[in-house]
Amino acid sequence: MLELKLADYKAEKQPDWCPGCGDYGILSALQMALFELKRDPSQTAIFSGIGCSAKTPHYLNVYGVHTLHGRVLPVAQGAKLANPHLTVVAVGGDGDGLGIGAGHFVAAGRRNVDMLYILYDNEVYGLTKGQAGPTLGLGEKTKSLPKPNPQGRINPLLLAFASGYTWIARGYAYDVKGLKELIKEGLSHKGLAFLHVLQPCPTYNDLHTKEWFAPRLYRLQDEGYDPHVPEGLPPEELDRKMAQFQEKAVEWGERIPLGVFWQAEVPTFEERLKAYLPRYPEVYPALGQQEPLDLEGLLKEFAL
């Protein structure tokens, strides 16, 4: 691989997000994280759903796959499982991941494929001009809604936890440096990492703005919070960790925590696949069929 500079990770394509959009910060953090971890662009793939956030892959010089609304996780998991040596990042908005893609969000947690999923949460459907997203609170009325939101809010952290995500964190779009560190940590985590990013939409979300967030945010790790859950933790210790997680995951309003909430050691789906494919991941689907098929052997059970 060539020696690459930070700028090499940035594609020539100009982002078409609104001025002041939180997406710019996430893009920069992602670019810096990939550069600092020296990830080979040709061994890295970024997948996205549909929406403003989903344009992210076009702005990075790696394999970029801009998929379908809500389907980013299955596509990304398919690629990662077929070539487990790739660095895989999936990105998408709250509508993409927790609205139309909620079933995939949950199922991905059950598998624990080794990759990072970044959810850009702005509480609105921006590209279709500001309808309520699945993370907008009940009764909240952003400026493009004719009436207060009649549907309740999904807590992405709790849902990720219930689904089995093994690394759960929250970042803030305007805290590029902090976000970069979280992305690096999520990429280095073995298993499915979920990074919830608070990403104010300056155009459609006039409730949860940069100004609203700034005084409320704090870092969990500054307060001695330890997210690490080693394998084989005694049940009472695990209960304590879970209680601690829940307490922080629901904290919203006066104080909003950022940082790593949960970091557990759980076998990945790749490791579980070994029960079926003993040579995996050394021999993986993207390599193609390695030996001629033993058709003769397979036909034995059908012989007359």
């Binding site: 796959v65 998991q77 199922a107 098929l293 007359l304």
Partner: protein, 617 residues
Amino acid sequence: MEDFTWRVGGPQGGGIETAATLFARAVAKGGWWVATKREYHSNIMGRHSYLDVRLGRKPVGAFREKVDMLVALDGETLARHLDEVRPGGVLLYDPKVLGLTVRGLPMLDHRVADALAERFRKANPSLQDLLAAFVEAGVQPLPYPYEEVADRIGVELGVPPLQARRTLNTIAVAASLHFLGFPLDPLLEALALQFRGKVLELNQRVAQAVYREEMPKLSFQLHLNGYEPGRVYLTGAQAAALGKLAGGLRFQTYYPISPATDESTYLEAHTAFTGADVAVVQTEDEMAAVTMAVGAALTGAKAATATSGPGFSLMAEGMGFAGMIEAPLVVTLYQRGGPSTGLPTRTEQGDLMFAIRGGHGEYPRIVLASGDIQDAFLDAQKALAWAWRYQTVVVHLVDKFLASMAQSLPKEALRVLSLDGEKRLGPRHEGFGPYERYGPAEDGISPFIPIGTPGGFYWMTSDEHDPVGHITEDVALREYQMEKRMQKLETARREIPLEDQYTLFRDGEVLVLGWGTVKGTLLEALDHLPGVGYLHLRLLWPFPQIGPLLEGKRLVTVEHNYSGQLADLVQQETLKRVHHRVAKHNGRPITLDEVVEALKGVLAGRAPERLVLRKGV
């Protein structure tokens, strides 16, 4: 007997499948070619199910309307199959069921019970009444108390009663074969294919005990037909799975659905075989199944999914995505009765138009259909090869009839094809910069480097895009990319060998057109229909240029759907009128007898434009 069909009916979960497989293997061990069809309910246990095993001196691909021997393992079988045994045929039943009444059969549809009530002019006919009707129709009744026999043999062999009762299927098969005068040895050999160890020993002793009993002589006997080694007996779902393996499949996704699941679970269970180490992933739904397969394909893995009607509807979105980003993808579609949940375990060919057109917008897709077990094996290989050659979606159409049908065939019929022609580029090392994945290509097929190819990167998007894969709404780029993609259809039509597009099995003034699983039935029907030809379509899209073959013929389509979807397609693509549409949409496969009768009507000039076949149980 030259032509013989054995039917076993009973409650689902009661092991009647084991019985049919045993019977098929026993007669196959005696040299007969066999084919088995399976009819069952969407139910785990208790509802009625039956299987037909048909024998022939040459490979069998069709089923008869009436059977020669009906083995009723319960009372309901008598009620459902009252008119299904040919005159002179036999009915093997347990006399203890005669105490039952039609209204006392809990799983019998009211429609059937009411029809029987009307027929016998009684509110609640007894099974004794039904038996009398069998006899009146010329069927020979053979009372055979399976359970009593099991108990007796159990005592004789010193086996506990519960264990002996578990051999009821073997007893039913052994009794059938013994009645038919068929030797014992092939049955013992068949048991050895089915069981191992102590269970085998018990079943063989049970079979021997049945054969020691005196049986009344039947008017017809089943003789040996000269065993030849090298034959295999497998289902369509197994053949499709094996074909995928032969075609180099590396990644399969699925969401459980009848009748497609059997293919994926077969793959899951056989990953230990050399070259069969496929990653099989059960997904949360069919949107995930199709898109996960796409993700795998983008890295260079030959990937596929398998589904049935409702799942295919959900996959329409993901297939369009694959078409747009030019991902090689195979979807094996096991058609079943629709619309909606429809008839989950019954057959239909109702998805032809949807396979060709389903989804929003237009993208090139290739649709092929298999007619029998061998086709399923070969077509699965072609489907994968074409998906990679043309970098697009290939829909491989099969159906429930084929999925659950089993046929014996020579092992050589299952040959591994050498198909290539992929436009895949190797690693690229010079410089750093995006790769023109969607660059110019006269045949529509741009060179492809999978994700992970060293030195490369580019973008893919479900939006319209430029040559490196960035979103565009530019008119010239849109026109170019759309035309480039659609050009693949013309390239495929030109490149795919004609023998893979259609087969004119016989020409005739009356020319029957069919696709998929009507094949076996029509091929045998030709023996009874001088002057009738048969054109079997293998490739349904791009549609083969068959117009000249149809010139001046009286055209008839035969298919398992309501409207005659092939007829519409033929008319649209060839501008030739289809004179008669033979349709069947009750979920049961077309029988040899009913299609011969329908086509005789066409030959005699007394057939309407639309004929609906209604036979089946």
